[in-house]
Symmetry: C4
Subunit: 361 residues, 4 copies
């Protein structure tokens, strides 16, 4: 009986180390934090149907994301302020992703510039996260730089037309003052923008699907639409030429009361079927079987956010690697135990549909 750590252990340990304001900042959701909890619980409601007696002695967990190979279908979601988790910040995260053979979406709110991150993990797979800003020149300026530094996709946040309401105690606001964070994309680079103040100015709800058309016009990089939760919007995204859709509810930090991402995944997957657009998911992934369930229900890969931060807090680059390794190993075991030799063999038959019991109350 091998005894191994799981992601819950990593989180518990990280909470022993981090100061309260950072724990609260990383862990909180919006309003009543209902969606935050449901993202995890929804995975628990889904039952697996394992297939036996297939030769699974050789298993291949690798797949591709936007045409590029990853060692396993688990990559890193964009999250802000990695320095609050560990002094090495995004450097550590990027190096861990590189060494584990997967990709990282670098947040717009990275403490280090996109150039620094590209240089510290040069052979790593990296994508740029983009919030929709009021200043389109800034967006264009950053995207151009990303293209030049080997970023191979833009993950655009669609579900933040305005800020949501958090109930995190104001310990976090106070921390903003005491632990000022400089957003890195304008640091240490030759930038035409004197101040980075404008940089974080959101566009405040003005965007429409035409903004996506504009983004396509200024970059040759594939666009991934992040935050989609309905078939209707998935079809819009496809119509506007995105290469991927990240089913996400912003980790329960934007509109509280939406469905768990794993519950909405089938609807979205069905809507884009046959278009060639890739579907990803983030929110609530904590176990290897969660990854397998997401792939069975239509995801090409999953992204993880908070667990990366807990690993980072615990042990910098090593901690992030440990989190990725735990997930990879658990996913590999889940493949073996469901009779899958490759990610292509993971399909919807592995998941129980409808009521999972003889009788129900």
């Amino acid at each position: 009986m091998a005894l191994r750590q799981c992601l819950d252990d990593v989180e518990a340990s990280a909470r022993q180390i981090l100061p309260p304001f950072a724990i609260r900042y990383f862990s909180c959701g919006s309003d009543g934090e209902q969606t935050l909890a449901d993202n995890i619980n929804a995975f628990r409601r889904i039952r697996l149907r394992p297939r036996l007696m297939r030769d699974v002695s050789k298993r291949d967990t690798s797949t591709t994301i936007l045409g590029q190979k990853v060692s396993f279908p688990i990559a890193i979601s964009p999250t802000a302020l990695h320095q609050w988790a560990h002094p090495d910040g995004e450097h550590a995260t990027a190096k861990a992703a590189e060494s584990m053979g997967t990709g990282m979406v670098l947040s717009m709110y990275s403490g280090s510039s996109l150039e620094e991150i590209a240089d510290c993990a040069p052979s790593g797979l990296r994508w740029l996260h983009m919030d929709l800003l009021s200043n389109t020149d800034v967006m264009k300026y950053i995207i151009n730089r990303a293209e030049n530094k080997g970023y191979t996709g833009i993950f655009v946040t669609l579900d933040r037309p305005v800020a949501s309401k958090k109930r995190a105690p104001n310990i976090v606001t106070k921390a903003y003052g005491r632990f000022p964070v400089s957003f890195g994309h304008f640091q240490g680079t030759d930038t035409p923008y004197k101040s980075s103040d404008k940089y974080t100015e959101h566009s405040d709800g003005i965007n429409t699907w035409e903004t996506i058309d504009w983004l396509q016009s200024i970059t040759r990089l594939p666009i991934v639409a992040k935050g989609i939760l309905t078939a209707e919007d998935a079809r819009e995204a496809v119509k506007h030429g995105v290469s991927g859709i990240l089913v996400s509810n912003h980790g329960g930090r934007q509109l509280d009361g939406v469905m768990a991402t794993i519950d909405v995944l089938p609807e979205v997957a069905q809507a884009v079927k046959g278009t060639g657009v890739e579907i990803y998911l983030d929110g609530g992934v904590r176990l290897g079987t969660d990854v397998l369930k997401a792939l069975a229900l239509g995801a090409k890969a999953v992204f993880v956010g908070r667990p990366i931060l807990w690993g980072l807090a615990l042990d910098g680059e090593c901690g992030v690697k440990r989190v990725l390794k735990i997930l990879q190993e658990e996913f590999d075991i889940a493949m073996a135990l469901t009779g899958c030799r490759s990610v292509e063999e993971i399909n919807a038959d592995l998941v129980q549909k409808g009521c999972t019991c003889v009788a129900k109350l």
Copy 2:
């Protein structure tokens, strides 16, 4: 990450201030208080389907109630004994509603007379609450005065043919003696009724829909039927000429074990569709997303009761304004995050129907 107060915070603070008998009086429900809890829980069971990438930079939360404009679709339900919450009583509540641009249903059990309330918030939108009394002359007398003082609708309680059974400890009954409350509509006015005793004498179950016909015959004001929970009664109300239906279970204070108001709303909305009769809801509204859910499922506006009292207890007029402001802001964010520019754009597609998950136990 903006940090803002929610209605639960207001309630928690108010409970620190109020004496036990008032807390118990305001918060209790009938029998096992099952409906009291379900009114809130039912909102939590409903999942939102947000639409993205619509230009929501300019949003209009205003709507109309009985043809009159309100700044947002949230008004004040009739509740008794505002003096038990704050010495300023209904004066504070009425002024808060006026300054926030919404309306207030003045309870028959107001400590101040309807004239005083009209005078203290002269430009406020106000409606009169009417319990069905044994003395029809008294009803007629009060309604005539309300017409003269600018009340623009009568909200008639239909769900109190007899008193329900409360289990509130008798601390409340004792409080009635120690903190006598004079019902205000006969105070400080020139009234033909020597005593107000008859005033609170209920009609004890004798009323039928003919009572509504009689009410229509004695007033030019629109009638809103309060307390309807079935399609059958909604159709009866329409047949008897009401202008609005307030889906309500008396805040869980009359028949315990009825459905939550948000659960019964679709049935009622469906029943009156196309008649032009407006549907409202009260019971369990605590979040901006609750308001949006109610509007998506057919309500023209929602009314809030207890949260107003908690705000009143905390800080008089300012406290009531704070409660209304919190709800308005949360509702505004909810509109933005679901892609709605106006209340007209809120529709049933924003709410998940049927089972909300992949598998269910």
Copy 3:
């Protein structure tokens, strides 16, 4: 806001008074006590659909059971060992039922003889409970005596072919020794049976529906089949000439894991529809709305067991009357609040069918 006691209060008070062995004996169920809990919880899952604006100023709660009038549709189920609750035992219970205008099923395990009980409450409505014994002469002897003393029906327990398994700590077994209970039907009467030992000897599973035929052949009294939980057995009972069916799971004391009685009631009611056989229910009735729900779903009346014992423990005859009065008053309020003037007006439309909410997890 009237403040009144409910049955839960009575139980809580009784538990302060009774010795542990009696509490355990009265309150326990079989095996894991799942059905014991579900009997009560199932009522909570059912939602009412109240009808408004009917003249309910005059309400009549009376009905008939086996053709005899009762003041309200709530009678007393057979339970053993009333002396363990109060020294007055079944005398107090019988007198309370008589004075409240309802009936009592006298248990075979009464401490007083059926003659004594008939004499102490001569104008009371009374039925005899009959377990199926190994000695048919004893059954015949007792039934003949019951006929002579004005008992007007026989409630036969069908769901105890063998004893179930209880997990009550052996404090109860020890109590049997220290507080010996004499079963009364052979005490103080001129009986051909020297000893009452044989009396409590169960027939140990030998009975079939032919036993019911035999019972019909030896008595002119109507037979009520107690313990039926399926449509199949309901039809059998009708075929064998019973006058009534008491849907019961022995208060959760026989087969654990069966359905709650209120959940099985519609199936049984449907099966006997149009036959003229009356349906009753016991198990889990604690509120006036529970009574109304049972009647709406097909019961002619409900029977209560444990609440009677708690009332008896608390205050003898007065305590039992209090319990019956609480239920009657709550039922009367429930009728008023659902728009029912008489028990005949209580129908299935008052109960929500199927899923009671907009969305479900």
Copy 4:
């Protein structure tokens, strides 16, 4: 009111006696232990429909497994390391099974050799458990010896292509060092294998249904496929000539998140209907009614694992007998209370299908 012990009592007592590492080893499941809990909870969700008034005075609990008579449809699942529960180890378990008239599946990880166990309970019904090993000669060698010592079937574990992940604290791993366990099948016998090291070497995922064909080719004993959870695999097993299917999820110790065995049983039973292949179940059986539910839903017999170990820990052979006796008695009562005279009479009508209540949330 007879007062008797149940399996939960036995477990609670055993936990007072066993050292923590043994408790943890026996009781743990994989990952989040969701399936471990669900195996038990799923039985609680199923409601029984008892039939009354059948002559159940003479009941026969006996049945056959693979054509051999057992006194009741409850046998012993293979579990490892019985010495950690009690010094008498598998000897005690085998003797208890023999004296109770049922069978035991001897684990490959028995502390005593299969010959010793056969000799200590010579007239007992015994089957051999087989994990799929990397060394097929070892498998063949052991099976041949089992044939010679009167084992009458091979239960092959199919659901362990690789080891699962346990979260048991490393107290267990440490215990492996301090309390070394020698696997018995190579002890005290004349074996061509110098070391038993290879014996426990798993085949690590290489097996396919052809392995089952090979097993059939080397033994005349019937094969039971253990670990099947889908209709698809059940049909495969039938196609490859198995005589029985043990619906099992390895007691929640392999893939976490699969369905409870009782929930998956109907699907498997339906898939093999008419083939003559027998269906068994293990996982979560704790009550006599659980056994009845399993038989009603298609199982020929159930197997129990952990309860046997708790009984063994408590009192060696006597403790195992007590566990079997409790289950047999409870099953016998359950038969009587549902109107079944023989196991053949147990059918699907005894179980409620679909929603078990009037309304559902």
